[in-house]
């Protein structure tokens, strides 16, 4: 038996297909590894630049929630801020929140904003914007 008959009889098409898939998968993986190789080289050349990866978590943990309790006035102010937050996007610019607090006549907007930051009710995201931590707000204010 020769030619296509022999290929059909011995599962030649599926074997060929598996072979092609294996080769292409290997090539794709190889290209992905090569494309990321510069990061490994950069790390070897200058490991200090990557210190923030290991330090960041520790710093965040240490800095997080420097204020664990709120006074009655601080709770009231947090509630007023929460009303402003409802009019803003989920990830909001901090200067805008401050401006709106001033425009809406909230008492001591700077002082109260720093209280919210210390309490972790207003938290930075990773893109330079801030988020309202509802869980923290409920825990400290409700």
């Amino acid at each position: 038996m020769y030619g296509f008959d022999a290929i059909n009889a011995n599962n030649g098409w599926s074997i060929a297909a598996v072979g092609i898939i294996i080769v292409f998968t290997g090539l794709v993986m190889l290209s992905l590894i090569i494309s990321q190789l510069y990061k490994v080289l950069e790390f070897i050349e200058n490991p200090k630049r990557f210190e923030f990866l290991s330090r960041k978590k520790g710093v965040e943990k240490k800095e997080k929630y420097t204020l664990l309790f709120l006074s009655k006035n601080q709770k009231e102010s947090a509630k007023q801020f929460s009303l402003i937050i409802k009019t803003m996007e989920e990830h909001f610019p901090l200067p805008k929140l401050l401006r709106l607090a001033e425009v809406n006549g909230l008492g001591e907007p700077y002082n109260n904003l720093t209280t919210l930051l210390d309490a972790g009710i207003v938290e930075p995201d990773t893109e330079g914007y801030f988020i309202w931590n509802k869980e923290r707000f409920n825990k400290l204010v409700s």
Binding site: R49, P93, T114, P124, T126, G128
Partner: protein, 149 residues
């Protein structure tokens, strides 16, 4: 140990510098009080200083509304280090009354231009600090880097 020296040792960007250099840095630092709501650097204006936070809280923000709040003693605020034009790239607003060391920008740049190794060390630490504190802020153009080295 003087407060200036103590603070310089806390600043990541300066931690690898020799004691003699740190002493020279002390001479170009001036302590000032910043008040709640005060904008002591405005985006687009001529940059005369870098800043080191002693106490208080400073909000650094960009025109797009991106912001970061500095609140640790020893935080270095000087994202214009690479900008040869010397224009503030961000606005600095004090969120509370506090104390800040103002570091004369031109004297500082002149000082590090004298020593290429020191300049390299500062730039390496600065890059790392930049990535750690505000990776979302567009890095100033590297046009000034050559003049520093």
């Amino acid at each position: 140990m003087s407060q200036k020296k103590e603070l310089i040792n806390k600043v990541d960007v300066f931690k690898t510098l020799d004691d003699s250099v740190k002493e020279r840095l002390e001479s170009i630092m001036e302590q000032r009080t910043v008040h709640e709501g005060e904008d002591f650097a405005v985006e687009g204006a001529q940059a005369f200083y870098f800043f080191i936070l002693i106490s208080g809280k400073i909000m650094l923000s960009t025109k797009e509304g991106k912001a970061v709040v500095f609140k640790e003693s020893g935080d270095f605020i000087g994202f214009e280090l690479l900008s040869s034009q010397g224009i503030y790239k961000t606005t600095l607003k004090s969120l509370s009354e506090g104390q800040v060391f103002f570091l004369d920008r031109s004297k500082f740049l002149a000082m590090i231009q004298e020593d290429s190794l020191m300049a390299e060390s500062i730039m390496t630490e600065w890059e790392s600090y930049f990535l750690k504190t505000a990776p979302f802020i567009e890095k100033p153009g590297s046009t000034g880097a050559e003049s520093i080295y």
